[in-house]
């Protein structure tokens, strides 16, 4: 069912330069050529009855309810499949049409349970509405004959119920699964009266290929596919448009509410990032917001072996501020710092960096993008002049060749993956560069032309080989490169990549990719029309992450694949506000818009705005903070929304650093892994409990709007303000819009952004300023942001993390569709039904050599540590490579990963860890310690002294 407030126009909007004019029921209407009569009528407020049509799907013409009469034409054509034409005279309501429609409805209702009063869709059912609209007053056929009324319900999916007894076989669910999602999990089984909607091969939903995106539920016009939350709570009575708090796609949702309770999250059809689509996380996995594990009172304790004590907000702020001041007095100004998260809003991350720079008086502020996309910022800024992706998501509609490098969009960015798959079904070509066989390599109606299955850690060798082919075979777009880029750097780069050692034949031994495939893929990208590159953490989380990002930019510049729709270099950001948190000056060396703290002019602007003298030296990055903590020069840390004890590499190193500090303040929803080492806990607010903005992977600033009151009593931005005030640096904002106004005043790419404009436009892609008052969907159109594009040299330097006899396999890590990052949110939802533990994927060859069977417990040992997981024996991974996820703390994926990091940014090399894997019969020493520590900390939480109220 669509959201309660949506108007359904029946068929999708058409874009055409030509307009046609016609009359419908005597009213003139002009619409773009190709628009259906059904939509043309709806646009002038003449809704034609319909059931199988909805504006998220192409017309199907099966229900025979939207029939119309057209002057001069015979019969009663379906208005959904009939395009509007100039001069048409259409009638939507005549006695004959009414008669036909009533007949159709009578047949539908004759096989439909008449339980409207107790039905979960009562009042929000299109079948019910249509019965009223056509004036159905009686049904002459009883239930004595064959019918579907006793068809059993499928309740296998935790989020929705499939009740076939209410199905009218309109195929909207099947078409949504195909057209919108692209999974093809549903079909119509049987013929004629026996036709039924079938997940998979007449299987329960949970046993089918269904990915639980919710497109079918949204498309269903009856209660056949219904959200369990609506079945349990009733239909919503209002909605608030907001932005999802999961991945970097940043889908717009209508949070549908009944009283103060959210009962459904429906993807917003006018959302510019998602166009009404969603995934299992955003659509359904929001129950964590009211989970019993939420901590809603501020707490403090002197030592981490003490029980927590609930205190008033004032006492918590006073205690935290006094501790930070004490530490600075004792150990120096640079002994404290903060880490924000990509789960924070723009306004929150901006305030965090402001607090550090103005109240702490240093630049020890970092954000979790350090450990994911910091190389993107470095690589793209150095080559093109801006630390951001070049395109909007819609750009992929015009791509001819799509290259996906080190990303798994169907799992990590599922809604964008659906756009991509749609374009691939239309004929675009696909190149996958990934050590692992991700779903995009081959899935229904999608098959990669080339899967360059390289060994982890050899990205730069591969991108050089692709560039070598482009340069030596004369496939460069010299007209573009010479006009738009620094000629010297272009010549230098061509000479560099043209060297024999970069040829596919020479690099095959390094990468493991057949030279012929590299050559063919390079030719396809360079000559196949609009070439677009999408990449993820498989590019950045390497010791040469920044080099690889530059290599990608080089390739795009050399082939002219920049500055227009359909092309570009597009980092797929992992979390919802990675782009935004980077934009907001959250790195220790940069103010907003990536301006260095060494720049006296910029620093002077911030000093004037903040009213204090600012530190002209770069501060500590996250890994440097850990080292400084262990050497005794860094003693206090304020974290919002970031769980470094689970997400950062070499867990034992991280927890040793946390233990060495004297004051750790955690602001979060739950007692996460890091909070177990904390001395102060500020109860944070979920995305449903606050106002702000998120910026997605396409630079789109979207609204986050408060749907319910914060459970702890304060929105996160208010908490940071109060802490700053307690530290003696005043922050007196009354609403996040004032924070955004300050950001706009200080940030050249944001000068045109305000809450008023965001509300008016729905969302805005930065840069938004005098030059681009409506924002910038595609960057670098005429010139690069830095003026001329700059080619960087990309020498391949093998990682120091090498396999040997002791550690013969390479572990690489990633994530899956149903879980999100450290799992703090998704583990507290029914998404655990899909993934309740992290497992180690191992190739059958490697498994057999070690006597490992599918499901066996295995020990995974690296130079950093040891853990155990169950094995999944699969050919998804290649021999010599194993793979796991990091969604569950007890699985200890980051106990194994090392502190190796990117040369330019210190982004950890999560993707390459040398390991050995062997069968085991008990958990690792670390796991036993972690279990004991967790039990101890939960006991200290349970034993907390409650605040007297």
């Amino acid at each position: 069912m669509t959201a309660i407030s949506d108007i359904d126009y029946g068929t999708p909007a058409r874009i055409s330069e030509r307009t046609v004019t016609l009359t419908i029921d005597g009213m003139p209407v002009s619409v773009p050529e190709g628009t259906s009569l059904l939509r043309a009528a709806a646009e002038i407020g003449l809704p034609i009855p319909k059931l199988c049509a909805t504006d998220s799907l192409e017309a199907f013409g099966s229900c025979r309810l939207c029939l119309v009469e057209i002057e001069g034409r015979k019969g009663f054509p379906a208005s959904c499949t009939t395009p509007a034409e100039n001069g048409m005279k259409v009638r939507t309501q005549t006695p004959k049409l009414a008669d036909l429609r009533r007949g159709v409805m009578e047949l539908y209702i004759s096989d439909h349970p008449l339980d409207c009063l107790t039905c979960s869709a009562n009042g929000d059912c299109e079948l019910q509405d249509m019965a009223g609209a056509v004036g159905l007053r009686e049904v002459r056929y009883g239930f004595e004959g064959q019918n579907h009324l006793k068809s059993p319900k499928d309740t296998s999916n935790p989020y929705f119920t499939f009740d076939p007894s209410k199905c009218i076989v309109c195929s909207r669910c099947v078409r949504a699964c195909e057209e919108v999602q692209g999974t093809y999990a549903l079909t119509i089984d049987g013929r004629g009266f026996d036709s039924v909607v079938s997940p998979g091969q007449l299987q329960p939903f949970m046993e089918s290929e269904c990915v639980s995106c919710g497109a079918c539920v949204q498309a269903c016009p009856t209660a056949t596919l219904m959200d369990n939350s609506v079945i349990e709570n009733g239909t919503p009575d209002r909605s608030v448009i907001t932005t999802c708090a999961y991945c970097g796609v940043g889908c717009a949702f209508e949070a549908e509410v009944k009283g103060a309770q959210v009962v459904r999250m429906t993807p917003y059809k006018n959302g510019h990032a998602n166009h009404g689509h969603s995934c299992v996380k955003g659509r359904f996995a929001w129950g964590y917001t009211t989970h019993k594990d939420r901590i809603t009172k501020p707490m403090i304790r002197k030592k981490i072996t003490d029980p927590w004590r609930e205190v008033s907000w004032d006492e918590a702020f006073g205690y935290a501020a006094s501790e930070f001041k004490r530490i600075q007095q004792q150990y120096g100004r640079g002994s404290v710092g903060a880490i924000s998260s990509s789960r924070c809003t723009n306004e929150e991350t901006y305030l965090m960096q402001k607090l550090v720079r103005a109240a702490f008086g240093n630049n020890n502020i970092d954000t979790c993008a350090r450990v994911c996309h910091s190389p993107t910022g470095f690589g793209l800024k150095s080559t093109m002049g801006e630390s951001a992706g070049t395109q909007d998501f819609d750009s992929v509609r015009e791509s001819d060749v799509i290259m996906v490098i080190g990303a798994n969009p169907t799992d990590g960015h599922p809604v964008f993956a659906s756009y991509m798959k749609r374009r691939l079904r239309e004929g675009a070509k696909l190149i996958i560069v990934d050590p692992r066989r991700i779903d995009l390599v081959r899935s229904p109606h999608v098959e990669a032309q080339y899967h360059l299955k390289l060994m982890p850690g050899t990205n730069v060798a591969l991108i050089n080989a692709l560039a070598h082919v482009v340069v030596t075979e004369g496939l460069t777009d010299d007209e573009f490169a010479l006009a738009r880029c620094e000629v010297d750097s272009y010549d230098q780069w061509k000479e560099f990549v043209g060297r024999p050692e970069h040829s596919p034949e020479a690099t095959e031994e390094i990468t493991g990719v057949p030279a012929a495939d590299v050559r063919a893929a390079a030719r396809m990208y360079a000559t196949g029309g609009n070439g677009a590159i999408y990449y993820g953490l498989g590019v950045t989380e390497h010791s040469q992450g920044s080099t690889m990002v530059a290599g990608i930019a080089n390739l795009a510049m050399a082939t002219g694949n920049l500055g227009r729709e359909g092309v570009g270099v597009n980092p797929l950001r992992g979390q919802n506000n990675v782009q935004g948190s980077c934009d907001m000056g959250s790195f220790p060396h940069e103010f907003t818009a990536y301006r260095h703290v060494l720049d006296d002019v910029v620093r002077g602007q911030f000093e004037a705005a903040y009213g204090v003298t600012l530190d002209p030296e770069p501060g500590l990055r996250i890994p440097n903070m850990f080292d400084a903590a262990l050497d005794g020069s860094f003693k206090g840390l304020y974290l919002e929304g970031e769980d470094i004890a689970q997400s950062d590499p070499n867990t034992q190193h991280v927890t040793a650093a946390l233990t060495a500090m004297e004051c750790i303040v955690v602001q979060d929803l739950f007692l996460n892994e890091t909070a177990k080492f904390a001395h102060v806990f500020f109860p944070g607010s979920s995305f449903l409990e606050k106002n702000g903005t998120f910026t997605n992977a396409e630079r789109r600033v979207s609204p986050v709007r408060k749907v319910m009151e914060p459970m702890g009593g304060m929105e996160d931005w208010e908490i940071t303000c109060a802490l700053s005030n307690a530290l003696g640096y005043p922050m007196n904002y009354t609403h996040p819009s004032e924070i955004m106004d300050e950001i706009a005043r200080l940030t050249p790419t944001f000068t045109g952004i305000s809450y008023e404009k965001i509300d008016r436009m729905g969302s805005i892609q930065w840069p938004c300023n005098d030059k681009a008052p409506e924002g910038t969907p595609v960057m670098h159109r005429d010139t690069f942001v830095r003026g001329k594009g700059k080619f960087l040299l990309t020498k391949y330097v093998p990682t120091e993390e090498k396999v040997n006899r002791k550690y013969p396999l390479i572990l690489t890590t990633g994530r899956i569709l149903s879980q999100y990052n450290v799992g703090a949110q998704t583990r507290r939802t029914a998404n655990v039904d899909w993934h309740d533990e992290d497992m180690l994927e191992i190739h059958p060859h490697d498994a057999e050599e070690r006597g490992i069977n599918d499901g066996d417990w295995v020990g995974i040992v690296s130079r950093a540590g040891e853990t155990t997981q169950r094995a999944r024996v699969t050919e998804r991974v290649q021999p010599g490579v194993v793979y796991t996820t990091f969604h569950h703390p007890e699985s200890g994926a980051n106990v194994i990963t090392t502190e190796n990091s990117d040369w330019a940014t210190n982004c950890p090399e999560y993707k390459v860890t040398a390991v050995q894997v062997m069968p085991v019969f008990h958990s690792s020493e670390w796991q036993a310690r972690h279990k004991r520590f967790t039990e101890q900390q939960l006991a200290l939480l349970d034993a907390r002294e409650r605040e007297s109220t």
Binding site: R333, H589, E617, P618, D631, K795, W903
Partner: protein, 82 residues
Amino acid sequence: MNVEHLIEMANQIGRYYEAYPNRAEAMASTAQHIRRYWDPRMRAEFLRHLDGPGAHGLDPFVLEAVQAHRAELTPKERTGKP
């Protein structure tokens, strides 16, 4: 600060810039990178280590770059109370 980490980080930076044909510019870029991204205590510890006894572990290119640009890398005294 962990000196081994600092040495490894400096060597990584040098191994990137060493690819550039103009050696003097490559060295300047190496030093600039350290200047622009390392907290002063990291630079101070790094320079202290180079002045100390024993093997420093730096690649020759990086050592030369650091020595040529030592003045830029030396942190200025911090002033002012928190």
